[in-house]
């Protein structure tokens, strides 16, 4: 009995496009693979599950490195998803777009950075939660 082993594969090794070979069989016998053909992998489609309500934005700064989001990363922001405590969100604070974690403390909601040296912002009438971050894309 062989043990089944799972390997972690770096994202760089995942083919962005799987090339397909289509072969015709002259004898008239249908290709046994014909029913199993797939479209090439489309990472955009995978990342953006809800395209009509999702917007791509670029991150400016390092205040969310604790959440694994770095300067220059692309994020997918979904406006159809209801923001809850614990979500990473894009918020407008006095009209300025900012990236934060939404947290509940006591009976209030707060916007929290995930790096040293940033003040928490209380969610009040000057804050509008614009959308929920549902995806992250980065190239090396």
């Amino acid at each position: 009995m062989h043990a089944l082993r799972l390997h972690t594969v770096p994202i760089a090794m995942v083919p962005l496009e799987a090339r397909l070979l289509l072969c015709s069989t002259p004898a008239g016998f249908p290709s046994p693979a014909a029913d199993d053909l797939d479209e090439p992998i489309d990472l955009g489609q995978w990342l953006i599950e809800h395209p009509a309500a999702s917007y791509v934005m670029r991150v400016d700064g390092c205040s969310m490195t604790g959440a694994g989001i770095g300067d220059g990363d692309l994020i997918v922001v979904n406006r159809a998803k209801k923001a809850r405590a614990g979500h990473i969100v894009v918020a407008l604070v006095h009209g300025d777009r900012t990236l934060k974690r939404l947290k509940r403390a006591g009976d209030r909601l707060w916007l929290i950075a995930e790096a040293e040296g940033y003040e928490a912002i209380i969610v009040d009438e000057n804050v509008e939660i614009w959308g929920v971050v549902v995806g992250l894309a980065r190239r090396y």
Partner: protein, 423 residues
């Protein structure tokens, strides 16, 4: 009982699209200019309150713009088109069928939803559009498209409706129609409105009660159908108001005036290309092409020249190469040296369905041309507009349209997506 129809219309659509990604535009007067930065084609509520009218030429309202700090933007059709796609996706599940009427208006067939509270139903739809896109909308409901449109206008004008007016209700319908000026009814032109006024017909309610025969005698078949639709009988008035396109035009103002024939030829060639593309996408052919160009009329101290040449197309065609040849012939005839041309364009008219076009002898191998046009359209579709061009068009686009104050393609280009601060 006809099935209910709704019309959802985006408020100040272009401005709302711009505000979605630039919060500095919220709460201040904003106008968006036509695609040569010539005149105002969209105004925020604040700009309307300052008396800016639809179509106001920007050079005539400079004063107001400076005095009130009105924010002025070039139109960004890439953005408006992408946001429209999102709006339509957001309303889809709320209707059995829908018809996108214009970039900011969509008709919905609410068949199957009649037993619900329709106002609540369309409010949920409105909320979904607002949530997905940030764009505010108004909705009108009625048994006909004309009444849905009228309800929409009422919902927009009267704050009592809170953005939704359901004219299925007879009492409410009468109330609205009696307060609705007849000249504001969709499809009633200024001339018809004057004739109606002479008969003492000033409101939509009075128009509804006019004998249909009299309506037909006075106006056209359109007026008769409008009367029927105001009574709640679907009559295809909307379809008659905008029947098959009678003519289309491609025109632009030049960023810098053009003083040589070769550059003008290049521009006109591109317009003819675009015209051909438009014709083919509607399945139409044209019988006549007019090419025109002129100097800047607002600089009367400069030498003035205005030219226009009409060329009959025989056989009728949508073939870009035929259109280009015709347009170039027109320019050759009309060109005079020594003028600074500020605007040029082509117009195509006498359009009919390509299937119905009269065949002529000696047409040559039009099938082959048809396939070439298809190939041209598909190359353009795949690689961007004008990826493939006839050499006449030229490759240096000095006369590119003006769009000095255009916002980024926020939603469609990775290099231009909005930035979010993490600092």
């Amino acid at each position: 009982m006809p099935t209910p129809i709704a019309l959802i219309d985006c408020n100040n659509y272009y401005v709302s699209c711009e505000r979605a990604f630039d919060s500095r535009l919220v709460g201040v007067p904003v106008i968006v200019l036509s695609n040569n930065d010539g005149c105002a084609v969209a105004r925020s509520a604040e700009a309307k309150a300052l008396g800016i009218k639809m179509g106001d030429p920007v050079h005539l309202i400079r004063d107001k713009i400076d005095r009130h700090g009105i924010r002025v933007l070039s139109s960004n059709y890439t953005l408006y088109g992408d946001m429209q796609r999102r709006v339509v996706a957001a309303v889809e599940e709320f209707a059995r069928d829908l018809e996108v009427y214009s970039i900011d208006e969509t008709f919905l067939d609410l068949a199957g939803f009649e037993d619900r509270d329709l106002a609540a139903h369309v409010r949920a739809m409105r909320d979904q559009v607002l949530r997905w896109t940030t764009i505010p909308t108004c909705v009108g409901i009625g048994p006909t498209k004309t009444l849905a449109k009228l309800g929409n206008a009422a919902a927009k004008k009267n704050p009592l409706f809170d953005s939704v007016a359901d004219l299925s209700d007879e009492v409410l319908r009468t109330w609205v129609l009696d307060r609705f000026a007849v000249r504001d009814v969709w499809g009633v032109g200024g001339a018809t409105a004057s004739k109606l006024a002479a008969l003492g017909i000033h409101t939509a309610g009075q128009l509804r009660d006019m004998p249909m025969k009299q309506g037909r005698a006075l106006g056209t078949v359109v007026l008769e159908r409008l009367i029927a639709e105001l009574r709640g009988i679907p009559s295809g008035a909307v379809e008659t108001i905008e029947p098959q396109r009678k003519g289309m035009a491609v025109t632009r103002s030049f960023g810098t005036p053009v003083t040589d024939m070769a550059t003008l030829m290049g521009a006109v060639t591109q317009y003819a290309m675009r015209g051909g593309e438009k014709l083919r996408s509607h399945g139409l052919v044209a019988a006549r092409l007019t090419v025109f160009f002129h100097t800047n009329r607002f600089k009367p101290d400069r030498p003035q020249y205005s030219a226009s040449r009409m060329i009959n197309l025989h056989p009728m065609t949508s073939d870009s190469f035929e259109l280009i040849a015709a347009a170039r012939r027109g320019v050759e005839h009309a060109w005079r040296d020594g003028y600074a041309i500020s605007k040029a364009g082509i117009m195509l008219d006498e359009l009919i369905d390509a299937e119905l076009r009269p065949r002529t002898l000696f047409e040559g191998d039009s099938d082959k041309r048809g396939r070439l046009m298809e190939a041209l359209d598909s190359v353009d579709g795949r690689f961007g507009r004008f990826a493939a061009v006839p050499a006449a068009q030229g490759f240096k686009r000095e006369w590119k349209m003006r769009a000095d104050m255009k916002s980024p393609a926020w939603t469609t280009r990775i290099a231009e997506v909005p930035r979010v601060a993490a600092n």
